[in-house]
Each structure stands twice: as structure tokens, then as C-alpha cells.
């Protein structure tokens, strides 16, 4: 019973961290229509920044400033936000696919830096001894898990409320107007690029915060935590929950993480050890197919609020009509 409760707390903590990333993505994609396929990079930036700021001094690498955890979180948000702003400034005046390609590149480069800049990131061995909130409680796992859950829930709730407020504020209305009808919004004197860079930066900061939170929860980070599969998982969570809805982002994350963790547990119980890697590959393939099916069948997800209107005006319609024009 106690074990179950402890596992439940652990599961929810992990799921809520995903929710936090998904909330950041929802601000970028759901509200503003910015396609970020490199979010793993921004999560990694947050995790590494916070780790560098808060770990005790280490002779093997730079940094290790031993600062309080909260400073680490703030630092993660600032650095993640700046990285996102630079990415946005380079690409947001161009066609929207360029942002996808660039964010994909950001993730690749962050992965490379994490792997190769040993002086900064510990290379493939990662960074250990990241201070954990309530680390003193680690002897009693239940209490430890519950207090972690409380912290992560509180942060998620704050971000959720802030985002709900933001999306209803004039700022959020401008973003939605840009998403729905860019030309109309611009004609009202709103600078599309400026607002988009802001939204992208705030989203990046939230993702970085999620990365920092996760780093402190686990106490250890390594480049392998931030592979493209993370980006993919979070996208599936947002699409299942429904882009445009913060509630959907949270519920979608918990749901997809439950499916993911459940099918992972099932394969490890049912599949012989030497076949586990293959079973894991099949699991990813299944989720990929699921994403495509949801896009085809129910693109709005569970709580969706996305427009079903072409984004690129004439060009999109011309291509769209091709299946009828035979």
C-alpha cells in the first residue's frame, strides 16, 4: 500500500514535469502557432544551467557554484529564454518551416555540446551530485516522493495559472489573433515578429524550468536524457491533450505518460531481456503511428482549440486542392 502510494507520487511527479514542458510547448504552438521540434534542446539547456549553478565545486569541470536551488531554477529560465529568443529572431520573419528546421538544429547542437564540452558539462558521464530539494528525506522514500510531488505540483500550478492569465490578457489575445489571421493583426499595428519572439522565449523559459526541476529531482543528468525522443513524446502529449488548451496539455501529458510507462512495464515483464531493445523500438514506432492517426482523425485532440484554417493563404489552398483536381 505504502509502496503503491510512493510509486503513485513518483509517477505523478514525472508526469507533471512532462506537463510543464507541454505547457511551454502549448504557449509556442497552441497559442502562437510556432512549431518547435527541438524542445529537448531547451529542456537540456535548463537542466545543465541549473546543475552548473547549484552543484558544489568540482575540479574536473568549470562551474559548480553551489548556489541555492531557486537561483538555479531562475538561471535556467533566463538562459533558456535567451536561447529561444535568439533562435526566434533568426527565423521568425521567414516561412514557418524554417523555425522547425532551426529548432531541430538547436537540439542537435545542444546534444553535441553536452556530449563534447567536457569542461562544462561533464561530457558523456554527465553531472552528478545535483542538490535535491528535501534530499534529507531520502531515507524515507514515501515522504521524499510526496514532498517532491508537492513542489512540482506547486510549480506546475503556478505556471498553469500564469499561462491561463496570460492567454486571456491582451498579450495572449494578440498572439491568438496572429495565429488566426496574421494580416488582420498586423493591420491593427501589432508587430508579428516581436510578439512571436516573446512567446517563443517565454515558452523556452518554461521548458528550461522543467528541465531544471527534473535535474534536481533525479540528482543526475547526462546527454542521453535529451534525445529527439523527448521532443517527440512531448509533442504526442500536446496533440493528444489538444493544442491550444492548457488543461489539455496537463491531462494529455499524464495520459500519454501513463500509456508510455505502462507499456514499458508490460514489455519488460513479458519480453525476454535480450529482446527488450527491440520491444522498446516497437513501442516508439507505435507511438509514432498513434501521433499520425490522431492528426488524421482528431487533430483537435481531447480539449483542442486550434483553428482549422489554412495558415499560408493562397499557396496552402492551391496545394490543398490537389487531391480533388485529378
Amino acid at each position: 500500500m505504502m509502496d503503491l502510494l510512493g510509486y503513485g507520487a513518483f509517477f505523478l511527479t514525472t508526469a507533471l514535469m512532462f506537463s510543464l514542458i507541454t505547457l511551454g510547448l502549448n504557449l509556442q504552438w497552441g497559442l502562437t502557432g510556432l512549431f518547435n521540434v527541438g524542445l529537448a534542446g531547451f529542456v537540456a539547456i535548463g537542466a545543465y544551467t541549473s546543475a552548473l549553478l547549484t552543484t558544489p565545486e568540482d575540479a574536473a569541470r568549470l562551474g559548480g557554484f553551489g548556489l541555492p536551488i531557486v537561483i538555479g531554477w531562475l538561471g535556467a529560465m533566463i538562459v533558456g529564454g535567451i536561447a529561444a529568443a535568439i533562435t526566434g529572431m533568426a527565423t521568425l520573419r521567414l516561412r514557418s518551416d524554417y523555425l522547425a528546421i532551426t529548432t531541430f538544429g538547436v537540439a542537435v547542437v545542444v546534444q553535441l555540446v553536452a556530449l563534447n564540452a567536457q569542461r562544462l558539462t561533464g561530457g558523456p558521464f554527465g553531472i552528478g551530485f545535483i542538490p535535491r530539494p528535501f534530499g534529507g528525506l531520502a531515507e524515507t522514500p514515501l515522504l521524499f516522493n510526496l514532498s517532491n510531488l508537492a513542489v512540482v505540483s506547486a510549480v506546475t500550478l503556478i505556471v498553469y495559472l500564469a499561462l491561463e492569465h496570460l492567454s486571456r490578457s491582451p498579450w495572449g489575445r494578440v498572439l491568438r489573433a496572429l495565429r488566426e489571421d496574421e494580416r488582420a493583426a498586423i493591420s491593427l499595428g501589432k508587430s508579428a515578429r516581436f510578439y512571436r519572439v516573446q512567446a517563443f522565449a517565454v515558452g523556452g523559459a518554461i521548458m528550461a524550468l522543467a528541465g531544471a526541476l527534473q535535474a534536481h529531482f533525479i540528482g543526475f543528468i547526462a546527454p542521453d536524457n535529451y534525445l529527439p525522443i523527448l521532443t517527440f513524446q512531448v509533442w504526442v502529449m500536446l496533440i493528444v491533450g489538444g493544442s491550444g488548451s492548457n488543461k489539455g496539455a496537463i491531462i494529455g501529458s499524464i495520459l500519454v505518460w501513463a500509456i508510455w510507462a505502462g507499456s514499458g512495464a508490460a514489455t519488460s515483464a513479458l519480453v525476454p531481456p535480450e529482446q527488450q531493445a527491440r520491444a522498446a523500438a516497437l513501442q516508439i514506432a507505435a507511438i509514432g503511428v498513434m501521433l499520425c492517426i490522431i492528426l488524421l482523425v482528431r487533430p483537435g485532440g481531447l480539449f483542442g482549440d486550434m483553428p482549422r484554417r489554412p495558415r499560408f493563404g493562397k499557396a496552402a489552398k492551391a496545394v490543398a486542392g490537389e487531391s480533388t483536381a485529378k
Binding site: 502557432g33 512549431f35 521540434v37 533568426a90 527565423t91 521567414l94 516561412r95 514557418s96 518551416d97 524554417y98 522547425a100 528546421i101 532551426t102 531541430f104 538544429g105 538547436v106 542537435v108 547542437v109 553535441l112 563534447n116 529527439p228 525522443i229 517527440f232 509533442w235 504526442v236 496533440i239 531493445a277 527491440r278 523500438a281 516497437l282 513501442q283 516508439i284 514506432a285 507505435a286 507511438i287 509514432g288 503511428v289 501521433l291 499520425c292 492528426l295 488524421l296 487533430p299 482549422r308 484554417r309 489554412p310 495558415r311 499560408f312 493562397k314 499557396a315 496552402a316 489552398k317 492551391a318 496545394v319 490543398a320 486542392g321 490537389e322 487531391s323 480533388t324 483536381a325 485529378k326
Partner: protein
Amino acid sequence: MNLQFVVDGLLTGSMIGLGAIGVTLTYSILRFSNFAHGDFMAWGTYATLAVVSAIGAMFGKIAPIAPLSFGWPLIVAVIVGMAFTALLALLLDKVLFSRLRTQGQAIIVVMASFGASMALRSLLEFIFTSRPTYFSRAIQIAMPVGWGIRITPDQIALLLVTAVLVLGVHLLMTRTQAGRSMQAFSQNAALARIVGIDVAMIVRMTWIIGGALACVAGVMIGILVQIRPFMGFDMLLPMFAAAILGGIGSIPGAVLGGLIIGLAEAGAVQLIGAEWRAAVSFVILMAVLFVRPFGIFGVRER
């Protein structure tokens, strides 16, 4: 600085360039960035490998053609593989992309290609495991050609194949009716439709050319490096960068962009180390986006 990097760069550049032709065609004609293009590469290579092994099982061991490391089975297999990859691309378009295109949101199609990429790659990993394989384990002796450059017969053959293919695609696009229709459609879809261009045919051509060339590029990687389920995914960023550097929609641009990135990568390996190789395409991509986002041969988007 050793000039060997020129040969290495030209080879990497050929692979990137052949792949980037498909990327640039999908982008300019179907109007989306296809994240599954790298996985077409990997699927084509594994299909080719399967045909090579099947031929090996039927005819026993076949001696390679004199100085090369491969014989006629690979040549036959690569043609089968090209057809297979083109069919795979057509099939994926039929079940996924064409349906989403009718909804008219380009970015949803990109997202679907991202999901398809993950599914295709993991499926390869499931079938063939993630362990690398090879077409041949023979080691070729590199011949010195002067200025400290060495080159193997395989490498010469592959450079020639690339040149022939690029020339072929270029002629196809500029000298045939189908190719000219494709260009017309990419420049002004609505107008092309009004003058009665067969859009379904153009879409098919795009996938067939892109898929077949992706397969060749993958097989080149298989011959020169190794075959892994991730081989195409790792090429995605260089291919996108090459297509953007050359100017979206331009086939000579994609090839030239590929060669520039290949040479830059090979130069970077000598100067700053092989571990940073993958960052080169990103740096070039960012530089192009900041300075000349419409690429070398592109026109400014209006």
C-alpha cells in the same frame, strides 16, 4: 593543412546533395519540410542490403568487379532499392500526407512527417536491430593522386555516379515536359493548375525522384561508412541546411549547398576535431538564415 579533406568533403557533399534534392523538391512543390526524408534514405539502404543478401543466397558468392568492393548484385539491388523507396514515399503520401494536405495547414503535415520519421526509424530498429552492418567488409587500398590526396576506386565510382544522377535530374527538370510542369507548379501553383497541369502526376514525380535519390545517397553512406537505422536521421540537418543554402526549389542549389557543407564538415574535422562535425551544418544554416535566407539560387519570398 592536408588536402585530403577535399576528397572527403566532396564525397560527404555528394551524399548530402543527393538527399537535399528530395528535400528541396518536397519543400517547393508540396510545400512542407519532410522530416521523414532521412528515414527514406535508411529504408532504401536496408532494402538494398536485403536484395544483395537475397542475390547472395541464390547465386552464392559473386566476385566484385575488378577494383571496386562490390559487384553486379549491388548494382541490381540499388535499382530495386530505388524503386522500393519511391514506392514507400508514394505509399506514405497516400495514407498520410495527401490527406493532411487537404486540410491546408502546412505545419500539420510537417508534424505528421516528424511522427512518421520516428515510426519508420524505430521500425527499422525493430526489424534489423540497431547494430551497424556493412555491404562489404573488404578494405580497399587508396591510390595516391598527388598533393597528398588519396582516393579509393569505390570513391571515384560514387563521385561519377553522383555526377551522372545530378546531370540526369537537371535534364529531366529542364528538358522534359514533366520537369517543366514541376517547375511551373512550384513557382505558381494556382496558375499552373489553371493551364491544366496534371497535379497528381507532379506529386508522384516529386516523391519518385526524391525517394530514389534518397536511396542512392543512403547506399553511398552504406558503402563508405556503415548502415544503421539512424543513418538518415543524422543526415537530416545537413540536408535541410544544404537545401536552404542553395535556395529552396533549386536543384543545382541543393547539390552545390551539399558540396559546400560537405567540404566545410571535412575541413572542420581537420581544424577543430571530428566530434564537432555535426555542428557545422547548423552554423552554416544560421548564417544563411541571418544573411541571405533565400539562399544562393533562391528568389526572395514575397
